[in-house]
């Protein structure tokens, strides 16, 4: 191993350094080199020691937190497909294989296209390749329906990375969460493939789908129609019972917590998300303040709608449903806590999280045209985060001046 590294340092590294043949491609070499081994740089000045944490480790740990969601999402996509296409000899194995055949291409396209943009911008703008895109490239597929055409994945991730992030200067400078920007773009540009009731479960249409290793599938010309819990709840007529309407479709509280329901790839299972959440909080990477206040905000708004005299069955849903339904929990755990686009002050984090929770429920209930309120709520609060911080900082300045004056007069 050491010999290999020595060889690379001696013979390949210099090609990419200043004056080398591939000088312009230095970010690529740097990324690969520091992927293999931490850089050997020493502190230029005081403080003379540094913490061993770096951005690579930080970002990879977010990916680790996503693993339960990824694995569950793969199984669930396959399971939903097999259940709804009448595959009789489906097993756990075929579920996983089927799911993998649907989900992995989306993840790969997201990483490849996103990676190309990231590298391109790093080379043109001469900065190092930022690990932030690892997280964006994984978050984005997890909030897509498993049937999304791959070209749309490519277009979406391009929009998210370029418009959502790189035109501002890259990770650290962006205003919006790039993965959500990408999804919002697809949502408004190609609504047919990302909303409605035909996109959440794959349909056996092609010869490929009849491949024997996935199980026996009959051709299904009409396509599978499966709504998500949010759509079901929003569609309940006045005077109806939303809980019953959902339970009729199989969306009981238990099922929605477990996650074996149609929905976006990674965001259906509360259990998987909570596993990731525990990991993020235990390692101290993501802000528990945002998560906690977000859940409180969601619950508070849900409870408020319960007591308001509205003739709207969606509003009458207990708040627990709002927490487990749709993409809210995934959003508040993985999207809202993105440190770049979230509020940075502690007080600001509480306000920011609370409003995301409250707005999510508000959008869901008051505006049934957009059943998924979490995406819009988070994007809206991303925009508002600097304003929240501004007021918190101003309040802080007032307090600290008062403190200084009081001590001086004492």
């Amino acid at each position: 191993m050491k010999a290999l590294f020595d060889f690379m340092d001696k013979n390949i590294g210099p090609l990419f350094e200043k004056g080398g043949k591939f000088e312009r491609l230095y970010p690529l070499w740097e990324a690969g080199d520091t992927f293999n081994r931490t850089p050997g740089d020493v502190t230029p000045s005081a403080p003379h020691v540094r913490d061993s944490i770096d951005q690579k480790r930080l970002m990879i740990f977010v990916i680790y937190a996503l693993i339960p969601c990824i694995l569950f999402g793969i199984w669930n996509a396959g399971n939903q497909f097999n259940m709804n296409n009448g595959v009789e000899d489906a097993t756990l194995m075929t579920d996983i294989l089927r799911g993998a055949s649907m989900v992995l291409p989306i993840i790969m396209v997201s990483y490849m296209v996103g990676g190309i943009w990231e590298v391109l911008f790093a080379i043109v703008r001469r900065h190092e390749i930022n690990e932030g895109f690892l997280v964006t490239g994984m978050l984005f597929p997890l909030i897509l329906p498993p049937t999304l055409p791959l070209w749309q994945v490519a277009v979406g991730v391009s929009f998210g990375i370029v418009i959502g992030k790189e035109i501002f200067g890259g990770v650290g400078y962006n205003i919006l969460n790039p993965a959500l920007t990408a999804r919002a773009f697809l949502f408004f540009a190609y609504p047919a493939q990302i909303s409605g009731d035909k996109v959440w479960v794959g349909t056996a249409k092609t010869a490929f789908d009849n491949n024997p290793i996935f199980g026996t599938v009959a051709e299904n010309v009409d396509g599978v129609t499966m709504a998500t819990p949010l759509a079901v709840a929003a569609a309940v007529e006045k005077g109806g019972d939303a809980i019953k309407a959902m339970a009729d479709q199989g969306f009981t509280l238990f099922n929605m917590t477990m996650g074996n329901i149609p929905g976006c790839i990674g965001s259906t299972s509360v259990v998987a998300i909570v596993l990731g959440m525990i990991f993020l909080i235990a390692t101290g990477i993501a802000s528990w303040r945002v998560m906690l206040s977000g859940i409180i905000g969601c619950a508070a708004m849900g409870a408020l709608f319960n007591v308001l005299p509205l003739d709207n069955p969606f509003a009458a849903l207990p708040f627990v449903y709002h927490i487990v339904m749709g993409g809210f929990l995934f959003g508040i755990v993985f999207m809202a806590t993105d440190p770049v686009s979230a509020s940075a002050t502690n007080t600001g984090k509480y306000i920011y999280g609370f409003l995301i929770g409250a707005l999510t429920v508000l959008i869901r209930v008051a505006n049934p045209a957009y059943p998924e309120g979490a995406m819009l709520a988070i994007l809206f609060m991303n925009v508002m985060a600097p304003l929240i911080d501004h007021f918190v900082v101003q309040g802080h300045i007032k307090k600290r001046t008062a403190y200084a004056r009081a001590l001086n007069n004492a």
């Binding site: 520091t34 931490t38 020691v49 951005q55 480790r57 690990e131 802000s287 940075a344 004056r405």
Partner: protein
């Protein structure tokens, strides 16, 4: 008198704590004075290579204030004046002669100092070359003798590894310390605050108000003391001076000649265990003989200061004008396989992403100078504020400094700070931002613009 408990903070656990034993360090032939130690100073040289100087002769003066003189720590021949960029004299080397001739100054007793006027004390210190020991805030620069400060803060505390413990340094010099305090007290209409670490056995001194500070680093830094006792308001000036330097001033006043010795701590993981202790050294004397036998390791970084704050110095440095500790640690250029995912049992971290910090390994670490990662764009996360007891919103202050927003910097409290206060922020930052450098530049900008 007040006792403060600082809640936020972080102690870097590093091996190499000095024993409290003070050893006499044999007299040296070679002495050196480093004009570059005085930040922002424009020196006018008064000596040339080859000239002989008496102990206490003027070596150079401040071009901007010709009353401010800098004097020779020994009697001998100027061996060389080494110039750096733009012909700035970086070091003045002096070879000690066998015979000693000294310039003498007026002597005072503990009490007769009290009869002097403010101007007399200031002029005496300026003339004898000890005035630069007194710094002023904001901007932490050599105090302006013309402005009377609202208070003077004497820092006798220590919290960073391994700042010299003043109770060790003080032993036997209590009288000189009191004389120094009495002189300082003449410089202000306000109070003289003596700030100590909680639990240290430094006795009470007259003419001062003493305070104790408990808690992790940075409970021992002057900025924290000022912030808790009497925060700097716009147009305020305070003087700050370290306790060890007050002893030097006291010695000057009571003996009538430049102080000969001071006590320094030699510590750090790259110092051999038997040498990790305090040394009574001659001011300005070369430390080369001591360092050459006491350091171990392939490539050692010597710091005039502690592990968190202080400048790199050469391995043959002389006893500096400022500071009472020398820290040595190894340059760590090692590269770790897939550092981004390893459990991190053997990597020191204050974050919970390393097993070492999760498992609460309380032991001390043999730390090196590795960056442990590459630089990335700064993200305002609030992490830099994690260990910041000053009420300044570190992340936002750094952002304001990056944006050259002087108004916001001042509002957030940059004037209360010194780059030193951001050492822990630099330490914890996963994006490897040079926080101290950014703040230093911010302070310089404000100073240029004027407040």
């Amino acid at each position: 008198m007040a006792n403060f408990k600082i809640k936020k903070g972080f102690d870097v656990k590093v091996i190499g704590k000095p024993k409290t034993h003070v050893e006499e360090y044999a007299s040296q032939q070679l002495f050196a004075v480093y004009p570059s130690e005085f930040e922002g100073l424009k020196p006018r040289l008064k000596v040339k290579a080859g000239e002989t100087v008496k102990r206490g002769d003027v070596l150079f003066e401040n071009k901007k204030n010709e009353k401010m003189l800098f004097r020779s720590p020994c009697c001998g021949t100027v061996k060389a004046v080494n110039l750096g960029a733009r012909r700035f004299p970086v070091e003045i080397l002096i070879e000690k002669s066998a015979e000693e001739e000294s310039v003498t100054f007026e002597t005072y007793t503990r009490d007769s100092v009290g009869q002097l006027s403010r101007e007399q004390v200031a002029d005496h210190l300026l003339n004898t070359g000890l005035w630069p020991l007194i710094k002023q805030r904001p901007f932490n620069k050599i105090a302006d003798p013309e402005t009377a400060p609202k208070a003077i803060f004497i820092n006798a505390a220590n919290s960073a590894p391994f700042q010299a413990d003043f109770s060790v340094v003080l032993k036997g010099d209590e009288d000189a310390f009191q004389t120094g305090i009495n002189a300082l007290a003449k410089l202000t209409e306000g109070k003289v605050h003596l700030c100590k670490t909680a639990g240290s056995d430094i006795p009470e001194f007259g003419n001062t108000e003493s305070h104790t500070f408990a808690g992790k680093h940075p409970s021992g830094t002057t900025s924290v003391h000022i912030n808790r006792i009497s925060p700097i308001l716009p147009n305020d000036t305070v003087y700050t001076v370290t306790a060890q330097d007050v002893v030097l001033i006291g010695k000057l006043l009571s003996t009538g000649e430049l102080p000969r010795t001071k006590v320094i701590a030699l510590a750090g993981p790259a110092v051999k265990e038997e040498f990790r202790q305090y040394y009574k050294v001659e001011v300005g004397a070369s430390l080369e003989p001591l360092l050459s036998k006491s350091l171990e390791g392939d490539e050692v970084r010597v710091i005039n200061g502690n592990i968190l704050w202080g400048g790199k110095v050469a391995n043959d440095t002389a006893v500096p004008y400022y500071g009472s500790e020398i820290f040595a640690l190894e340059e760590d250029r090692s590269r770790h396989l897939m550092g981004w995912t390893m459990p991190g049992l053997f990597q020191y971290s204050s974050h919970r992403v390393n097993l070492s910090s999760v498992m609460g390994l309380g032991h001390e670490w043999k730390l090196g100078t590795s960056m442990h990662g590459s630089h990335r764009a700064m993200v305002v996360t609030g992490w830099m504020d994690k260990f910041q007891p000053l009420n300044i919103m570190t992340d936002f202050l750094v952002r304001a400094a990056l944006a050259h927003d002087t108004d916001e910097m001042i509002q957030l409290g940059i004037l209360e700070t010194d780059p030193e206060d951001f050492a822990l922020a630099s330490f914890v930052d996963p994006h490897k931002t040079d926080v101290c450098g950014i703040i230093k530049r911010g302070l310089e900008e404000i100073e240029e613009e004027g407040i």
